[in-house]
């Protein structure tokens, strides 16, 4: 029973990581920017939902929509800064600006919400449900459901929508896309906006158990980074797979190894990074990424 319990928990965590990594991959694929600070969107999204749902007593759905809209807008703002000012600048500058944004977001959050733990105000409470003999909080069904909906929506977007295929074209050859009349700037903005929404869903999901959220969500957000690397930086589908793998591994490690003298209780947090380092040594472009992503 322990294995099934852990597996389910791992899948739930994997879904969360997958959502974050997917946002990260979409940003990278569409705009070639490595948004190191994407993880900072997690606590921001969660805090915003808290504010809507608990402080202002809005219905849960309104809270989600409001938070998503704000995060999407902030993301688009950051993207516009990039587009306007960072074109043609070396990689160092681009990476540092994402860190700069992270600092601003972090400080802003600490000033507004004072770094305290807050309740997330979700509608499920502590009720649990039995799934194939495994007891799990009802909220985890929501997480899995939401994640599935998001993944399906993203795939539908790229497969069926005009803007989606235009985004893929831009990612493939930006100048050729311009020559076809693709609204390239719009694809950039939409990519970042989508990532913002995904981060809100992930942040809320991560706050569901324990049912509070706090600044440590940021560290959780950063742990999705190895998932994106594992999947292959520019593969959106790979990010989901990578997220699943990292999530399951982390929970398994926590479940089986936390008693061990060598690894200790905290190893699960680092296990993702260990996997990442191995991936970088062995197959740096990840499971599904293209070779050009990594090699010089």
């Amino acid at each position: 029973m322990k294995f099934e319990q852990l597996l389910l928990a791992g899948i739930v965590l994997g879904a969360i990581y997958g959502l974050i990594a997917m946002g990260f991959a979409i940003i990278y694929k569409a705009t070639k920017i490595v948004h190191f600070a994407h993880g900072a969107m997690l606590p921001l999204g969660a805090y915003l939902v808290y504010t809507f749902a608990v402080r202002w007593d809005q219905p849960w759905v309104i809270a989600l929509i409001g938070a998503s809209a704000i995060c999407a807008a902030i993301n688009v703002l950051m993207q516009k800064v990039f587009a306007r000012r960072m074109m043609g600048r070396p990689l160092f500058a681009a990476i540092m600006i994402t860190f700069g944004f992270e600092i601003l977001l972090r400080a802003g959050m600490n000033l507004i919400w004072k770094g305290k733990e807050r309740p997330i105000g979700d509608p499920w409470g502590s009720s649990t449900v039995s799934l194939g003999g495994v007891t799990t909080p009802e909220a985890s069904l929501w997480i899995l459901g939401m994640a599935a909906v998001c993944v399906a929506a993203i795939f539908a977007f790229f497969r069926w929508s005009n803007l989606g295929v235009q985004m893929l074209g831009t990612a493939s050859d930006q100048e050729a896309a311009l020559m076809c009349g693709v609204p390239v700037q719009r694809t950039f903005a939409v990519a970042w906006a989508i990532a913002g929404v995904l981060a809100v869903v992930a942040g809320v999901s991560a706050s569901l158990f324990p049912r509070t959220l706090g600044p440590e969500l940021l560290a959780l957000g950063m742990r999705a980074f190895p998932a994106a690397i594992l999947g292959g930086l520019d593969s959106v589908g790979g990010a989901v797979v990578g997220g699943m793998i990292i999530g399951i591994v982390e929970v398994m490690v926590a479940g089986y190894l936390s008693e061990s003298a060598i690894f200790g209780a905290n190893f699960s947090a680092v296990s993702g990074y260990m996997i990442m380092i191995v991936v970088l040594m062995v197959r740096p472009y990840g499971l599904f990424g293209r070779k050009e992503v990594a090699r010089v």
């Binding site: 005009n162 893929l168 074209g169 493939s172 050729a176 311009l178 020559m179 076809c180």
Partner: protein, 245 residues
Amino acid sequence: MTTTTSALDVRGAYANYQNADVLHGIDLQVEQGMVTALLGANGAGKTTFLRCVLGLMAVHRGEMSAGSVRVLGQDVSRASAQKRIRAGLAVVPEGRRLFADLTIEQNLRIGASTRRDKETSEDVEKMLERFPALRRPKLQAGYLSGGEQQMLAIGRALMARPKILLLDEPSLGLAPLVVDGVFETIASLAADGIGILLVEQNAERALDASSQAVVLQVGKVVRSGASADLADDPVIQESYLGVAS
């Protein structure tokens, strides 16, 4: 022959790249249903001219341009590439510039990016019919042969339902038999009423396929006129047609 109703009317096209003048003020007109050739050696400024016409000069790369461009009478000199395409232009870039990791169908759909109507899927079907080489719509564009890629590039441009088609070196890197097919297609497009600007290094074929021609040298127009006349011109023959004097 310049009339105010030329399909494409370019006056005084000027371009500067990192403080060096590349185009010194080019005038050029293209009529609907007719093929105009733009000839010149490497570096003469042909591709730069096309980028000027399309509005692709990028300030952040140190590129500047000026001059007036009118498409079907509409002034698009200050407009974005997207607007110019919507006004009736389309380009088949040098080297095809296909989206190699996307499918034929996806490439075609992207060609229709500027359209606001609902007939895109129909047009995709029509393209697949017109170009038999493209009849495997789920195939990745990168797997096509050179000639097939050229057809896809033309098809992609046609998806925008252009009135003017700019072709940049369509014969480049293709076998002579394949080039025949490309020029046949160009002729049939002109017969359909599209105005064609054909940029080519292969002067012989270009003069053969066009009714008007303009010769560019170091960013300036040095000759222009009817293609038949230019083909008989000894200077042109020596410089571009490889005929010994």
